[in-house]
């Protein structure tokens, strides 16, 4: 069921500059001016465990660059667990284990010798609850990725990054006059956009979003969905959502996860172009879910 998801889209934003790549990497996606491109993630036979509990089994899918891939399914079917395995956050839970293969642009992110911290720099994440750092100002929140990653960046560059990220998150106009104020003074929707700005400030190649709108009101949700539509031009985006309408609105590719029964591992039922999944799915389970018969 990998159909349309693996087709690469042509002509993305910016000149397709080829940066230096080490031998052995064969991806040829177009890159942005910054020298990096939105990348492909390949998952193959991924099994996820919490201790002995088999949470997710046998997921194989490709996440295409410059597309929004939505992971949908009812609660507890493993979509967030799978999402967190893509940037090596899953293993932070004590006892959690990953088996299988996940690669970013052809490079196995779970290979021996790969630093998970490095992986997380390349694959950013936005969480369900907006979580700006409470002790930092808006400016420092956006720049947190720079500050925390031990690179000395001159102030002028930092200013530019902060502005660029806030603009990219559609938040610049609203906060440009109060960058020194704490991040906690913003509304929920603004806080979430702040977290998005923070995530893109480090120019990840993929952006993972775990139900980013579930804590927000409908207006803020719409603003974020518009933002996602813009962001996909520059990044690969994977978004977990329990809101089917959102998946239908905002994504290009949809992956449907399901559980056979409580206690059983979640698994990927079907993945394909969003249009197709919602109007003409292949699996009966998918059809039952998207037509609201369960979930």
């Amino acid at each position: 069921m990998l159909g349309a998801a693996t087709k690469r889209s042509a002509a993305e934003e910016g000149k397709p500059e080829m940066s230096e790549r080490p031998a052995g990497v064969t991806s040829t996606e177009p890159v942005t001016k910054a020298g990096r491109g939105a990348k492909t993630i390949e998952a193959r036979d991924v099994d996820l465990f919490y201790g002995d509990f088999h949470a997710v089994e046998g997921v194989t899918m490709t996440i295409a660059p410059n597309k929004v891939t939505a992971l949908i399914g009812s609660s507890g079917c493993g979509k967030t667990t799978f999402l967190r395995s893509l940037n090596r956050m899953h293993e932070l839970t004590p006892g959690a284990r990953v088996e299988g293969h996940v690669s970013l642009d052809g490079e196995d992110i779970y290979a021996k010798g790969v630093d998970p911290v490095e992986v997380r720099r390349l694959i950013g994440m936005v969480f369900q609850q907006p979580n700006p750092f409470p002790t930092m100002s808006i400016y420092d929140n956006v720049a947190a990725g720079l500050n925390l990653n031990s690179r000395r960046v001159p102030k002028s560059e930092k200013d530019a990054v902060v502005e660029r990220s806030l603009r990219g998150a559609n938040l610049w106009e609203e906060v440009k006059d109060r960058l020194a104020k704490p991040g906690s003074g913003l509304s929920g929707g603004q806080q979430q956009r702040l977290c998005i700005a923070r995530a893109i400030a480090v120019e990840p190649e993929v952006l993972l979003m775990d139900e980013p709108c579930s804590a927000l009101d409908p207006l803020a949700t719409l603003a974020i969905e518009d933002l996602i539509a813009e962001l996909k031009n520059r990044y690969t985006i994977v978004i977990v959502t329990h809101n089917m309408q959102q998946a239908a609105r905002a994504s290009d590719v949809t992956a449907f996860f399901n559980l056979d029964a409580t206690g059983k591992p979640g698994h990927l039922v079907e993945v394909g172009a969003t249009n197709q999944i919602f109007t003409n799915p292949t699996e009966k389970q998918t059809e039952d879910y998207v037509s609201g018969r369960f979930g």
Partner: protein, 317 residues
Amino acid sequence: MSQVDTTTNAGQLLAAASGGRRRLGDRVFSRTAVVAAVTILALLAGVAIFLVSEGYPAFTAAASELPEGKTFLDYVAPLAFGTVLASAIAAVVAVPLAIAAALFITHIAPPRLAQTLGYLVDLLAAIPSIIYGLWGIFVLGPAAVPVLKWLEEKLGWIPFFEGPASATGRTMLVAGIVLAVMILPIVSAIAREAFAQTPRKLAEGAQALGATRWEMIRMTVLPFGKSSVISGAMLGLGRALGETMAVTIILSVSGAVTFNLISQANPSTIAANIALDFPESSGLAINALIATGLVLFAITLVTNMAARAVIARQNHE
């Protein structure tokens, strides 16, 4: 648009350089944390080891070499007796008062005062013990003298109040009461927490039956908080066992082993004995004092561990 190379390319995932640097920072920091943990354990082990090694000579020494010409057992037994007696008085007096204070704060006083009242009770714990000692000997003792006389007259047939009543108030009873005041905040704080956490459904169940407030307390709050209160009482007891200065100052010591609480002749406690004798002691006498300290440590250890066992058993239910 400026370009900030803040990350490496996907192709440099295996770059050892930055990964190595980062892993060093992580390693140094986590090692330091482990070192701190180990240091603390070593400190505790050190306390035990040093006490045993310094105290040991007194265990094996002959009676003639030890202070007061007694064997170590004979030396420490009256002190242990005094320690337990004073602490028992403290517990008997403090626990009911602490329970009452906790009930008052959690169920009877207006809820918005609860925090302030709790703070006031906790204030008792902040006062240094030397001040309790001075207060005990200069204020409570003299004030207690008439009470001691009354006890001797009316209840003198009970061994506790045999008398003759002390004229200065420097008695085991007064010392015990001062200790009670000192441990009251500990017991009360634990009781307060337990009472405040009585599940609503239990309390409301009683009230729905038409129970009065006291009946509700008796039927639900007290039984629910019972094991917390017991462990709180034991923790308070542990604190009283180790208390030094108040007893040192207040008690008029004669070394007699007696249950008479209101007279001038009292046993000392282990802690007070050390405080009184240590500054002027040398040689084997010091070893003897340290050995008594070890005995005290053992007693408080057992009490505290028993208290935690009670809590642990309750948490598992």
